[in-house]
């Protein structure tokens, strides 16, 4: 029995429609993958920039906190600070504050869903880094508030305040060193992933020392 002519036309058109739909779906998936890859790349670049800035802020304040600690230790030995006014004049309270650390890259990545497009190791490293940062901020805030309590200043005696500030700064300096090491590790991981993805990275010249000048005769 001969097949009717319309059957061939229906088969051809069905195949054409199916192929078109599959092609459109493939193109749409390709566009979504590309957008996700761009979002992930941009997010990782933001993380690298922010981590470098936070590292620079920690480095900037670390020497100052270590200097304040040495003054506090001398004051503790000599009992030179006796009143709140002398404490303010010798140490100041503002200098004891921890550095202000950014977390806008993490918040932005969370809100835009960029984290879902990053690989497991990258998210793990970032999560660890920002968790440590949050813990540093919380611990510093609690310790800072305890320094200037009225009970630390007795008439003619501020030894308790000096000791409290020294203990606080000891913890802060230790945490700042830990944060610095964490930032270095996170930056290495992220930079190597960006390099593997073929993304050029900007060097942060504002926070790095200039290259050594060649000596005459070299």
């Amino acid at each position: 029995m001969r097949k009717p002519a319309w059957l061939a036309e229906v088969i051809v058109q069905s195949i054409a429609v199916t192929v078109s739909i599959l092609l459109a779906l493939w193109v749409d998936q390709w566009k979504q993958r590309r957008a996700a890859r761009e979002l992930a790349t941009e997010s990782m670049s933001n993380f690298v920039t922010e981590i470098r800035q936070n590292e620079a802020r920690v480095d900037d304040i670390l020497l100052y906190h270590e200097g304040l600690r040495s003054i506090l230790q001398q004051a503790e030995k000599s009992h030179a600070i006796r009143t709140q006014a002398e404490f303010q004049s010798s140490i100041g309270i503002d200098g004891l504050r921890p550095p202000f650390l950014l977390q806008t890259a993490w918040q932005t990545a969370t809100l835009t869903g960029a984290l879902t497009h990053l690989d497991y190791e990258t998210v793990r490293v970032l999560s660890l880094t920002y968790t440590l940062q949050d813990r540093f901020r919380e611990d510093s805030r609690a310790g800072f508030q305890s320094i200037m309590q009225t009970s630390n200043f007795k008439p003619g005696d501020a030894d308790l305040a000096v000791r409290s500030a020294d203990n606080y700064l000891r913890e802060v300096v230790t945490s700042e060193n830990d944060l610095h090491a964490t930032y270095e590790q996170a930056e290495q991981v992220l930079s190597s992933k960006l390099t593997a993805m073929g993304v050029a990275q900007k060097t942060d010249s504002a926070h790095t020392p200039p290259p050594p000048q060649p000596t005459p005769g070299q």
């Binding site: 800035q53 900037d60 100052y64 003054i71 004049s89 010798s90 140490i91 100041g92 504002a206 020392p209």
Partner: protein, 182 residues
């Protein structure tokens, strides 16, 4: 005593002129006495002479002399590292202090609001990691300068202690004539 009515017209004119002169003289004196004392005089207790401000650095610093422009670059945060690549930690006296007034006037050429906005802008543009560190007394400034490698601060020249390293600015010490920070 002669009454005003008995005084001749010419005499009245002379008396009126001399009274007018006297009144004008008194008014001029009153104006001169009401001129406000200048800011720097107020800062120095009205003595009329500003005290020199010494620039002090960590004793282990290899820098002994800076040009005024180099000093300005450091204080403006445009230079953040010494030549030996160590970080510069800038220590700035908290308001209100005579040495801070001299530095704001001579080095920064800004008032307090402009100074604050300047550092906020630099932080916002991520040109610096942090602003200058605040010190609350000359003792604190010199203690910190001694403790922090690469640090630089300013104090009144009269407050400098013997074991503090004072920089020459344009080759001059605070006691030299022509020292720029007075």
């Amino acid at each position: 005593m002669r009454s005003w009515k008995n005084v001749s017209g010419r005499a009245r004119e002379v008396i009126a002129q001399r009274c007018g002169t006297l009144v004008r003289l008194l008014l001029c004196c009153a104006c001169l006495l009401s001129v406000p004392v200048s800011h720097s005089d107020a800062q120095s207790g009205g003595s009329g002479a500003r005290q020199a401000v010494a620039i002090v650095v960590n004793p282990h610093s290899t820098v002994s002399n800076l040009s005024f422009e180099e000093l300005r670059r450091i204080f403006l945060g445009q230079q953040q590292f010494w030549a030996d690549r160590s970080k510069i930690t800038l220590l700035v006296r908290a308001p209100v202090a005579p040495e801070r007034a001299v530095v704001l006037d001579q080095i920064y050429r800004m008032d307090e609001d402009q100074f604050r906005q300047y550092w906020i802008g630099k932080m916002f543009r991520a040109e610096i990691a942090g602003g200058p560190k605040i010190v609350y007394s000359s003792d604190m400034a010199m203690n910190l300068v001694g403790a922090i490698p690469g640090s630089i601060a300013f104090v009144l020249a009269s407050a400098v202690t013997p074991n503090t390293k004072v920089l020459r600015i344009d080759g001059k010490l605070p006691s030299d004539a022509g020292y720029p920070l007075k």
